[in-house]
């Protein structure tokens, strides 16, 4: 994992939308260790504000949030010119078929179950994706 951190020069900004503080801190620690700039949101509303205020290269998204859910956040962002093209990855413990197909429709890069993933894996997914875009 450490070779990724040294070989990539990523001053990319990632928005982490996750309401579980403990898990969010772990994700953030790992992304920062891999040299990414990280901003966080705990609720859907916060995520909307954050995406409007900052230049975001990628969103890491949880689905079940208090207030607007994660996929609704994406749907709203896609209605705005400035935020409509922000790519997003879903890491959620809810993988109901309805959420999955909506995630796919909205164009999620990745949709994985959080419990089955690791923070290292999230960093790998992020790095692979951002490198493939360059």
């Amino acid at each position: 994992m450490s070779d990724i951190a040294t070989t990539t020069p990523p001053s990319k900004t990632i928005l982490v939308v996750e309401d579980d503080r403990f898990l969010r801190d772990i994700i953030v620690t790992h992304l920062r260790r891999a040299q990414y700039t990280v901003v966080c949101a705990t609720t859907g509303e916060e995520a909307l504000d954050m995406a409007a205020a900052e230049h975001i290269d990628l969103i890491i998204l949880d689905i079940v949030l208090s207030g607007i859910n994660g996929l609704d956040v994406i749907a709203r962002l896609q209605q705005q010119e400035a935020t409509k093209a922000i790519p997003f990855m879903v890491f959620s413990n809810s993988d109901e078929p309805a959420s999955l197909s909506r995630g796919k429709e909205l164009g999620a890069v990745t949709y994985l179950v959080k419990a089955l993933s690791t923070p290292e894996r999230i960093v790998t997914e992020v790095t692979n994706f951002l490198q493939s875009k360059q």
Partner: protein
């Protein structure tokens, strides 16, 4: 007099006899008949009652079954969140050298991490099982290199058999990115097959895991063991839920007989196929192919 006339005669005489007897017994017969009729009526009333009761019980049982599935679905989804915290939290201690663990602590943490991973897998099996029963399957996605996932999940299974002297050999040649099957489903399928191979192969055996790429980009995985093999009788019910033959029970008494059922469902849901070749006493190879679209 022909035989048929004789029969007719005897029948007629008997009938007359019965009629005569009945005539004299008429009154008591009538009484018996009334009694019997009442009895029958009562019995049939009881039967109808029983039937209704049974219907009711059936409905109750159906409800129980449905609520049990709902229960499993809810519980397993709910369990995912604390399970994630446990797994990630222990992972932070395990993977961060700053913690400077003693040798003993390291052993404990390693064991805890493996258990947490195992728990997460079991929960996921339950979720998948309930989903399949309901005819829905989640189709997660991500682009990734399957060879790495195959290797990691096979090696994880090996750690579950620390006291068994077995070789785990890899011949992985997919060398590309797979889109059709998410890494967790692939890992679940591979780890199930490798786990079976470990269970049903005696000490000193070899488990070989191969991967190859088809001309259309499809992924084929083969898991071979040098184990006890599968009896012809058992081969017929290989992918049926809760089916385990005597060899299987002797080799691994704790198995549920769910693994292969779930595995087949996962593979087929991705448009793939699964099968096996076996020789009793020599070994078994399970193989599956999934398209890359």
């Amino acid at each position: 007099m022909s035989i048929s006339e004789m029969v007719l005669g005897i029948t007629t005489l008997s009938a007359l006899g019965v009629a005569g007897y009945l005539f004299f017994q008429n009154r008591s017969l009538h009484k018996v008949l009334v009694e019997k009729t009442t009895e029958i009526e009562e019995s049939s009333r009881m039967l109808i009652g029983k039937n209704l009761e049974l219907n009711d019980q059936n409905a109750k049982q159906q409800k129980l079954l449905e609520s049990r599935e709902d229960f499993i679905a809810i519980v397993s989804h709910q369990l995912r969140t604390p399970a994630t915290e446990v797994r990630w939290g222990i992972g932070e201690i395990r993977n961060n050298p700053d913690w400077k663990l003693t040798v003993d602590e390291h052993v404990y943490i390693e064991r805890l991490y493996m258990s947490a991973e195992w728990m997460v897998n079991l929960i996921d099996r339950l979720v998948k099982l309930v989903n399949f029963e309901h005819g829905v399957g989640s189709s997660l996605f991500s682009a990734y290199a399957p060879d790495e996932a195959i290797k990691a999940s096979s090696e994880q299974v090996k750690t579950l058999f620390p006291d068994k002297k077995m070789d785990l050999v890899f011949e992985l040649a997919y060398e590309g990115v797979l889109m059709s099957m998410d890494p967790d489903s692939l890992k679940m399928v591979v780890s199930n097959l490798v786990e079976n191979a470990f269970h049903y192969t005696p000490e000193g055996g070899v488990v070989t895991v191969r991967s190859m790429k088809g001309p259309d980009g499809s992924l084929t995985v083969r898991v071979s063991d040098t184990g006890i093999g599968i009896s012809p009788e058992k081969q017929k019910t290989m992918f049926v839920k809760f089916q385990r033959d005597k060899n299987a029970v002797a080799a691994n008494e704790k198995g549920m007989g769910l693994g292969l059922y779930v595995v087949k469902k996962i593979v087929e849901q991705r448009g793939g196929t699964i099968g096996f070749e076996t020789a009793e006493g020599k070994g078994t190879t399970f193989f599956f192919t999934v398209p890359n679209t």
